[in-house]
């Protein structure tokens, strides 16, 4: 069931410069949440007409909580960052198709590649893949050491490959260079990526010649989130804008989607 219920903010803190982690408690269809799914938050100010899509980074069906991690990029996320614990927030969800977990075998070696605010959905994914018995490696990149977040989460679920542009922590360079240097292409049966367009394109290029299944989680400006307005479309192989990120996505087959 898809619902729009009021959730209560039960925790809200800064995790890194401009990055916030918010825990919301409330009722929705926890059984339908898959890694890669997202919610749309209504901002508590009447001037804003669009909900903000944010990926579910963690989900606890027993305590009835979801965790979101977001970066302040504009007015909406700035407003969000100012909300106090105890405030009610209206949550539409769960939305979107998640990563197709049923296609991966226990014991498989899988790679997660993330950057920026692409990390949150990968956190839930890493958890799920680990529970399934996969060998999870995660490659993530940041500008500099001070910007890093999510390190613990990914260390808990497997091997973490960390890159910073300035080398202040981990590999010096971007995630693409890290993967090239590690020569890590062939051992993975599935590769999952979420992050800026450049990172997704790099993953497409890097693994196109391999046998690995490639899954990319995309962002797109959304209005309805319900598959009704055609705002959020992306192109698949046939080159026309025929897939809606909000219902057919946000996760797409990396061999089909045109970035």
């Amino acid at each position: 069931m898809l619902t729009k219920n009021d959730f209560q903010i039960i925790a809200h803190q800064k995790s890194a410069p401009n990055i916030y982690r918010i825990v919301l408690q409330g009722e929705f269809d926890y059984a339908k949440v898959k890694p890669g799914c997202f919610v749309m938050l209504k901002l508590p100010d009447e001037a804003y007409q669009l909900r903000r899509p944010l990926a579910i980074a963690a989900c606890d069906a027993v305590r009835k909580t979801i965790t979101l991690i977001y970066r302040i990029v504009g007015d909406g996320t700035r407003l969000l960052s100012e909300l106090a614990v105890g405030t009610q927030l209206n949550v539409l969800g769960p939305l979107g198709n998640g990563f197709p977990l049923e296609k991966v075998e226990p014991g498989a070696e899988v790679l997660l590649v993330g950057g920026g605010t692409g990390l949150p959905p990968l956190m839930l994914l890493a958890q799920a893949l680990k529970e399934k018995g996969c060998k999870v490696s995660t490659a993530i990149g940041f500008r500099t050491a001070a910007m890093i977040f999510g390190e613990e989460e990914f260390e808990c679920t497997g091997r973490l490959l960390l890159a910073t542009d300035d080398g202040s922590k981990g590999f010096k360079g971007n995630v693409g260079e890290l993967l090239t240097e590690q020569n890590s292409t062939s051992q993975y049966t599935s590769v999952y990526a979420c992050g800026p367009e450049g990172l997704l394109k790099m993953v497409q290029r890097h693994f196109s010649a391999t046998e690995a299944a490639i899954y990319l989680s995309l962002e797109s400006r959304m209005a309805c989130g319900m598959g009704a307005c055609e705002a959020c479309v992306v192109s698949t192989k046939d080159g026309i804008l025929n897939k809606r990120v909000c219902v057919e996505g946000p996760v797409f087959d990396g061999r089909e989607v045109t970035l």
């Binding site: 729009k4 400006r221 209005a223 598959g227 009704a228 307005c229």
Partner: protein, 311 residues
């Protein structure tokens, strides 16, 4: 009076149990997730996404930008074309909701195209009325041009009326100096009703890229910020032209619905409000009877009569 009767309104071709319908472009062809949140049978009617003769892939992305109390869209009439709509989309909708009146929004780049779409669409028993979209600001041929020149608008309306088997509501553009003149022209062309208003042409520019946020550069502005313009135009037109008006433009609450009636509307359509509130339509339908009580209005039918006679 029963709750339902109070909300019932009758318009050419449309016997509506209530006056609330999703606006064109904000509800697709009903084939979306809204049906998971409420029963579409609760709606007064549904206005489907614009249909063109050939399939249209629409504009490049981004197609949407936010503004204060508004939204800019430049979807660009993406649709699978009238034949696919008739063969694949409408039958699904009709099977699930056989009683739900469907208003088909139609568009074209030339008068001939409009006429052809109207002919095919109106021949379907699943379609109760046409909404002639002469006001889309997001396509480069046709679209808004048909809605800004009175003579062109009149000619087009007349041509469509000649072939249409169902009543025709002409959807007016607010991007004009004199909306009354256009309304009078389409009335003279034989329109059975009016839809007002489509979006206002607007733009947002990204400070970093220095380029318009929308790939199409300009887009159509909708939402509560434009409501006062819609109210003004409906007020002016309803006094000059004796045609029923389906009002749209920023409606969010039962108060907004009544304000549109007081301006001169006979029914309402809801677009942008869906984005913050996916159950905007059923919520309004539930809120209306209480609002009528509060304002001591017996029924919407009577309100329409009172407003018209006070004009």
């Amino acid at each position: 009076m029963m709750a339902e009767e109070r909300l019932a309104v009758e318009l050419p071709g449309l016997k509506l149990k209530n006056p609330v319908m999703p606006a064109s472009g904000c509800f697709g062809f009903g084939d979306n997730r809204y049906a998971e949140m409420f029963d579409l049978n609760e709606l007064g009617a549904i206005i489907i996404k614009a249909a063109t003769l050939k399939p249209r892939i629409g504009n490049p992305v981004p197609r949407i930008a936010e503004t204060k109390s508004g939204v800019l869209n430049a979807v660009g009439l993406q649709n699978p074309g009238v034949d696919v709509i008739l063969k694949e989309k409408l039958p699904i909708l009709h099977k699930k909701y056989p009683e739900l009146p469907v208003i088909a929004n139609i568009a074209g780049a030339t008068q001939a195209e409009y006429v052809e779409v109207a002919k095919r669409m109106s021949a379907s028993s699943m379609v109760s009325a046409l909404e002639l979209n002469i006001s889309c600001p997001n396509v480069h041929e046709g679209g808004m041009l048909f809605g800004t020149d009175p003579a062109t608008a009149q000619r087009l309306t007349k041509a469509v009326k000649e072939v249409s088997k169902v009543p025709v509501y002409v959807k007016l553009s607010p991007n004009v100096t004199d909306i009354v003149e256009i309304a009078q022209a389409v009335a003279a062309g034989g329109a059975d009703g009016l839809s007002m208003i489509n979006t206002l042409l607007g733009m947002r520019i990204d400070l970093k890229t220095r380029k318009p946020i929308l790939a199409n550069k300009t887009g159509g502005l909708s939402g509560p910020g434009i409501k006062p313009i819609a109210v003004r135009m409906i007020y002016q037109v309803s006094r000059a032209v004796n045609l029923p008006i389906i009002a749209m433009g920023g409606i969010e609450t039962a108060d907004d619905v009544i304000e549109m009636y007081l301006a001169g509307a006979s029914a309402v359509a809801i677009g942008t409000a869906h984005f913050n509130n996916p159950t905007a339509c059923p919520d309004l339908i539930k809120a209306l009877p209480q609002k009528l009580d509060e304002l001591k209005i017996k029924s919407l039918g009577q309100l329409i009569a009172e407003v018209r006679s006070a004009q």
